[in-house]
Symmetry: D3
């Protein structure tokens, strides 16, 4: 169950309105690695955790925090849209800034949401649960989380570079710091699980059931062997259970498939 | 540029048709972590790599391999659908297997694809590029790849448990082994980059620009402090640049937001 | 900002596992009018409210409650999936219940989410923000909310009819009662706003700017005049500003459109 | 069955081409509350109506009219795109209007549709049936319709404010007036059904089966009690069957959930 | 503008309810090549036609007919769902038909649409305008139409094979015949345009601007030269302007691409 | 199985960066008829082909080539984004080109992909497998392919008109030429199959089972008889099996449908 307090986790107020930046900032609210994604991902992982309370609690702690980040960004976007000018094409002739606003702002911010944030990314794609993952396997999912925080911090940093507004930069400096923590925390959780299991997910599948002769082979399917220079091509494998090997000219192991004809009720082309 | 050979990377032939399993197997062909996803993800990452040839080559090697895996699964699904019975509801009264097939198979396998594989998951959602990521930042993207191979191997293993067909299990033992390699290889590449940079992505953002006082703090937003027991709550941070701390009763840092009224041309409720 | 407590708003435990019902119950978790939809809709409306604190508070109160409902349903679905049998096609010959489970359960519940709830509806469509609305105009949005609670309660009632499990029915009796309250509350808020404004949204557009001669006309475009029997065809209009009238044989007011040819750089068929 | 006449329901001709406005106008053609949505929503509701002819006829009358509105908007958009300039980036240096057009127009209007309207919204999202609802319950659905006409008229009014073109404003004055009628008609139909049933949908579920003790309670989950000031917090409920009450410090009714571990064939993290 | 008559274009009544078949039949109502797709495709093509009245009229004639087909299928599906049993898992033990219905019917038909048709395909994917095309170029679009009628008739025929209900078969015999006509009519229109232009769309692009040396070459990228046996590999090209040639061992014409490093504000991995 | 070589099929290098054009060019990479669509469509058709090797080989030859086209476009887009300026709103006042770039470029190119190509169209919609078709019936599918190459060449030609960059035009001249070949090749394959079967797909459905009396009739549902002037209205049908006829005033063949009331457990409005 959730309680809401009206105070923001951190302040979220721009120096000036800027509808073009409001459009861009939607990316980390409603994009693939925006705050909606991490909130929903951590909450669903938490609700689906079967077992150990420590990980479930960490997931719920962080999921609840991400809800606060959605709120901060929604507030910031509404303020960036404050007094957004109501401009028309012929005004652009007088004023290149008007031209930029006409082109660079999101028309749905005035037509659809009434100068409010939308659950969408920076080009207007609505948020979709296609973005999230909760598999029940904690090591797999913590890797998904480490990736999400890496992509998310990267996007926040790129957005930080694209504005001079001190209010926006102040808020982003908070979100970027929290992503630093979240990368650290998922990293710590991953280390703990990898130490107990093995690095290969899932760790419980009997290795003798997999085709072991190709479990540590790099097949060179893109001709040119620069990839042979990497750690992944030689020496003991990272999981400690094998040895990497490199196949420069890989051949097929299978034969040409020959499918049976379709039965008549399928009405394919008669051949 | 690509060349295709008609031989399969590995054989892909079931002992018996099984349209119910064909439906399930679609998950690792066209689902969120199916072979289409990894193929497209690695190829786009490779094409967008600006710089070092070793990583680009590794991405293209693996992307090309994943195309071969789409092919193996498409072939397997077509064969599992071979001679799929053309059954009707009243036949179910005589035969529970017919009932199971009626319910458990994907109607689009007969109506739409003519007993062929579809670019869809196990419940029929069409594959979408929402599933993939290519950010240009290699450490971020290799984490995405490690996650994809973890989720993918997990799903393949779960599917392995759901059949007794030796032909299907044989093919899955190949794919599972390749996922073992791919987890190992992305892990190796990640270690290499983390050693050169730092674990926090992106490593190039000046730390003094982030809100450092909360960069290593775990806020306990889900009441109950089991999460304080983890490595992430105390001691040096994983990136070596700070110390974890735990805030049991976190308070807001911001104030209640108060938005300005909308201008008249937005026609909100007058208040 | 949000705090989470681990206790559920209300208990959520089935008498018995039932994977077929777990699939169905996804509808009111992740479907068009499921709990994710109302939670996100009310929260976005609240964050975007510019002005009066009473409505904003009501939206945030209710949005936070809906998060608790997502949690209850996620918990119920995980428990309905507890010990879901790991069945194969040939077992169906022995047991029609196995056949029903094979056909009637969601394969992603075992392959993707590891016996956890998914952010999807009862046929597997992932939740999308296409489902929600937050326009900034409170009367419009409260109507959206009244609709959402009407559709949502209807679906919960239909699901109530489809199970005998007393644990499931107990939880649904809670959700149905809350939908009763929510219908009542949005109804009350609508009455308040309609009394201050007018029933036509937005109330601030000058009526003389609309084509007043057709503002209260029912055009009979589906031949047969049963629709003339309704209150909407005769008498004073509901907004008190006009009189309904019925046009039995409506004619076009416009002319045949004739579009100009496309310029050559468009390369249409030359005509 | 449908007959088409080539004359438009109302004229639809701009004074001047304006590709930037053409992009915006797509919102009320192919957006969430555009004309495709209401046409499909009313037609599907009509086709699914089981019973009383008066409501079915009203739905089909209005659904057929909305098809004519799609046609008017498609025509208007094609004309706004007439002779759309074929501009390049370097021309923007000379002319801010060119800059605005480059940025503010939809590239698919020239590349994909050949200067024609598209079944998309103002940012290019394709129309999806996710937008519509037809539940079979008429009171629920008429509420959906009243909402759709409220959102739709609001968007049309906002678009009216964003142009000076008298031809466009003339057409919008028609559509806005029709939305006035449609809000009035669904309002009338709702009143009729609420008088016969009750305001709570569905009216046929026995009230004793819902958790009556919380059927009229407002839980204050967003701390701060401004919401206690509303009609929804005190006094008789709107459905006449209860009394509103306000719980300032709501506590959980349920316990912490504890899920069983997953079975081995799911291969979760071993704990 | 459109008029609706309540009579169906053709009768649409099954002998018996069959909810499993109702689910399947959704494919040709709301699937990729269902009636919604062709209706919307032809209408949008008609509205966007700039020029010759004959083709515009044909498009509008056929678009209006397809609306009648949506109506017939919606009616049929509602009737196939009539009296759909309200079954539970434990009843399946007694009755394999119950098991088949539990598994093979669409749960949204009872929970969401109240035993009505939905704007979805046979696995529940909502209809999307991604399915349709209207480019402004009539020859291109008539080819899209010929394809749509080919795929649509194929699916209708496959569905015809999957039922014994004489009422359903009767209705399908109508739709299949209409698809025969529609294939014939688009074929005729294509022949007319190809005779006036050329078979290559668009016909107006100066051939000297394309890379003529590869305009009639078949590159053998899938090793093995069975494809050399076809008409497309040798002899005069179908457009009469060149000669087909076959390249058995195709080599790249381009060089390895080398991308510039990203600028610092992009924060890629430093290399 | 696939091998990749690092050389491009054809060179792909612009004279100058142009982020606005990069956004547009996404259409033929990741749009409905972009290179991802044709690659996936041909490969899936090839994998699903049951029978004749000649067609399967042709499909795989062409599918593999389209992968090379994705690669060329991804490379071109990355280069068009090279050194894309990092501009802000206030700079637009000084420079209309900045204004155009702010408005006309895709924000995800800097925030999400790090100046790389995305699997999206020119307005940012992610690629979806909704775009492709593989039915198993070769004649139907070759028609889909001819359409795809027609739409694709049309879009490439329109893009050719929208740039003066000689590098871009050079690459497009290659792609346009290849589309010329692909239209020719599918045309040839279609002719071959039509000569063996009949033009109506599928050719194997017994004609006496369709409603023959309406198999060659044009119903004039859009009033006005310009459509009577076409070849499709009179004379022998294109399939040689009937005679076209024109019905100027088409009447319904069916009756008004009357649906049964819903059962009580559906909880529709009581009527
Ligand atoms: Ca290589
Ligand atoms: Ca905690
Ligand atoms: Ca009527
Ligand atoms: Ca409150
Ligand atoms: Ca070949
Ligand atoms: Ca006509």
């Amino acid at each position: 169950m959730f309680y809401h307090v009206k105070e923001l986790q951190y302040r979220s107020k721009p120096e000036c309105p800027d509808p073009v930046y409001a459009k861009k900032l939607q990316e980390i609210l409603g994009g693939q690695f925006g705050e909606i994604s991490v909130a929903m991902q951590y909450l669903f992982q938490g609700w689906n955790t079967r077992g150990d309370g420590k990980y479930r609690d960490l997931l719920m702690d962080t999921g609840a925090e991400e809800l606060a980040h959605i709120e901060m960004l929604a507030t910031m976007i509404a303020r960036l849209l404050d007094g957004a000018p109501d401009v028309e094409l012929d005004e652009a002739a007088q004023n290149p800034v008007v031209a930029a606003i006409l082109g660079g702002s999101n028309p749905q911010h005035s037509i659809v949401s009434g100068l409010g944030a939308m659950p969408s990314d920076s080009v207007g794609n609505r948020w979709t649960a296609d973005y999230i993952i909760a598999s029940g396997n904690l090591l797999a999912d913590f890797r998904a989380n480490l990736n999400a925080e890496s992509q998310g911090r990267l996007q926040a940093v790129r957005l930080y570079e694209q504005t001079d507004d001190r209010g926006v930069k102040d808020m982003l400096s908070w979100l970027i710091a929290r992503d630093t923590m979240h990368q650290n925390q998922w990293y710590a959780a991953i280390c703990e699980l990898e130490a107990k299991e093995n690095i290969v997910v899932p760790s419980t599948f009997p290795r003798e059931l997999e085709k072991q002769e190709v479990a540590y082979t790099l097949f060179n399917y893109s001709l040119g062997n620069q990839s042979a220079e990497g750690r992944w091509a030689h020496g003991p494998s990272m999981d400690g259970l094998g040895t990497f090997n490199y196949v420069e000219d890989p051949l097929p192991y299978g034969k040409k498939p020959k499918l049976n004809p379709a039965p008549p009720y399928i009405h394919d082309t008669p051949l």
